[in-house]
Symmetry: C2
Subunit: 436 residues, 2 copies
Amino acid sequence: MESAAPHRVVVVGGGFGGVQAVRKLRRAPVEITLIDRRNFHLFQPLVYQVATGALSAGEIASPLRAIFKRDENVRVLLGEVTDFDLTGKRVLLDRLPDGGGPREIPYDSLIVGAGSSYSYFGHDEWRPLAPDVKSLESALEVRRRILTAFEAAESEQDPDRRAAWLTFLVVGAGPTGVELAGQIGEIARDTLRRDFRTIDTRTARILLVEMADRVLPQFPPGLSEKAARSLERIGVTPLLERTVVEIDEESATLRGVSGASERILAQTVAWAAGVVASELAARLAAQAGTGVDRAGRVAVGPDLTLPGHPEVIALGDMVQVHDAEGTPTRLPGLAPVAMQQGRYAARAIRDRLGGRQPPPFHYRDKGNLATIGRAKAVADIKGLHLSGLLAWVTWLLVHLFYLIGFQNRLLVFIRWTLSFVTRGRGARLITATEPP
Amino acid sequence: MESAAPHRVVVVGGGFGGVQAVRKLRRAPVEITLIDRRNFHLFQPLVYQVATGALSAGEIASPLRAIFKRDENVRVLLGEVTDFDLTGKRVLLDRLPDGGGPREIPYDSLIVGAGSSYSYFGHDEWRPLAPDVKSLESALEVRRRILTAFEAAESEQDPDRRAAWLTFLVVGAGPTGVELAGQIGEIARDTLRRDFRTIDTRTARILLVEMADRVLPQFPPGLSEKAARSLERIGVTPLLERTVVEIDEESATLRGVSGASERILAQTVAWAAGVVASELAARLAAQAGTGVDRAGRVAVGPDLTLPGHPEVIALGDMVQVHDAEGTPTRLPGLAPVAMQQGRYAARAIRDRLGGRQPPPFHYRDKGNLATIGRAKAVADIKGLHLSGLLAWVTWLLVHLFYLIGFQNRLLVFIRWTLSFVTRGRGARLITATEPP
């Protein structure tokens, strides 16, 4: 029996950062409340594979309660965090599943990892026209549109409209955009090749729009070059140095560096560009009396705490880490960063509970991976540049390793193996957006 | 080179009957068009397992195009059949994926297997309040409600409302209702047992409402008795000789044979009762100048053809087969019936093309199976009554055998194995009904 009440840790967000933080705290003498809007942890780097029918939604998501079912000191709470009261040390919660009103959760230590979403460059009206592949629901909508487009092309009699159905435009040539475009290319060239009788799916045009002057701008130029060549071989055309200036029901208009515009007739547009931090970053900033940067991220110190609030740690895509001199550091918006920060946050809380001052967070860059298609990938691992089969196998193993849950690993492994052997995609369902 | 144009077979419905018919016709000298509203064949007997998170949607559905990709004489068409013109030998189609208007598909032989849906006893307004487990979308909605109910109970503070969240009512104690109720019982007692901190999920009440005086009325009374005992052991209470007279947002009102009513506070109601044939049965009947029976089914002769239309076969849940004397036969609304009828339809068309008169359809009853839970099932195989583990293993093997596609079989087998070992359910996601 301890005399003092246990230290209460509230973790907001069951993404990569939050889950790692809770995992590393579950043996500590603390009481943990993990809050998320969803009842599952989503393995975001593979969401685009749901959009292409390669995986089923359930295979890349793990129920949060299942992850922590054996940890008696971990409580999972479903609900939407609307704001914080840093002075009163409370998290404000709404939209609880019981339909009840707002509630407050008190904390002694707070960890916030609420992530980010795609920005539509200020054009939120494009969101329904060009769904992203970040949330599961949105990915299922992309899947519905890709598969419906081929069906529509099959029954369409007008050649111009048929061509528009067979034109797929992906906005953003970062890893997600490249992987999505590559998979659409493979669907058209391999998976669906023998499925239709009127159209030749291999005539589909897959266009990959990127603002920078090369695909995968986060990678070394040599690998971008290799990725671009792999993409072209599977029918993807990169359209570089172009931005989207307009999207409507049947087309997207691009503007190049020269200023010239072109309107492309495409019935299917998917979005994977721009990142904007969760609105909770601005809430934290407001409470701490600081601001947010252009990407909506809140500034945290070298130990990931909010200025003036050593009990509040924010991490992942929603923060901009500053070093001891106050200079912003450049950390990529990747799962490994959030995971390392989550583990660091747990250690920092344990340190403070033990009266020790935590060392500053240090990101260990283990490299950067992107897959382009069947047996094609690029990897930049501490300056070692890989491409082709070796990079692809590395990509597969790393993703399987970080998937949570033995069951999901096994199912995804089987899906990938069969998909490699048969060039098929097992989860090719067009389901309605609403129950009929 | 053949001189005559090939015989055109149009198959409406990619369910068990339609798929079997096309399979048995693909080597015949005919041109086949398979029309369905959906792009996939759904393994309906397992849809309820999607509702309980045991399986992912993609694991029990196979894209129709993938099934027939190697059959050059099979064309798959996505669209909604709205009517028939039996005189002009045309099928009328609408809601095509290209957004185009109605279209006509001519045929020489027609096979219609459009299936059935749950009747709400004339109360269609109950449909959104008590979703069924027949379509995938509806099953996903049931899954969302079951899982959300436990979440709501966990955050609910009022004990009465908490009890209502922990009350699950399943309407209909046929195989689907029994299996669904049994799985909810197992979720409450095993799967979620350690997941929550405030509620004890084992206190959940699962009520199974049935009009007849026993569960599984299609089975011999001894097996009904065994099933009822198994259900009670996993926390399911059968409420027999009762009908639903009212459903609202938070309760269902039942009426017993005595005429007494009781209102049960239950936040979650799922529907698995009553069967009504597809509306296409009435369309066929109207064209043939006959009527439909109380279940909306069209009458067909011993060779499954419409009266006066030897070129039109209707089959499965939407038909009432009459024998040579014109007496209605009693065939259960099961997948094996539809499958045998589908194969028969193919043979009958081949016979007629070869100038032979097809023999009447004869149903080979291979037995009746229902599972109740982990290692519990009942089987009635040609008078041999099995229960317990042996019946359960039979159930598993039969369902795996009839699932279409090696990939789905393997994935479902793995899900079931892991679920048996861990008592877990892998696909426990609460996803939004509409993209956020």
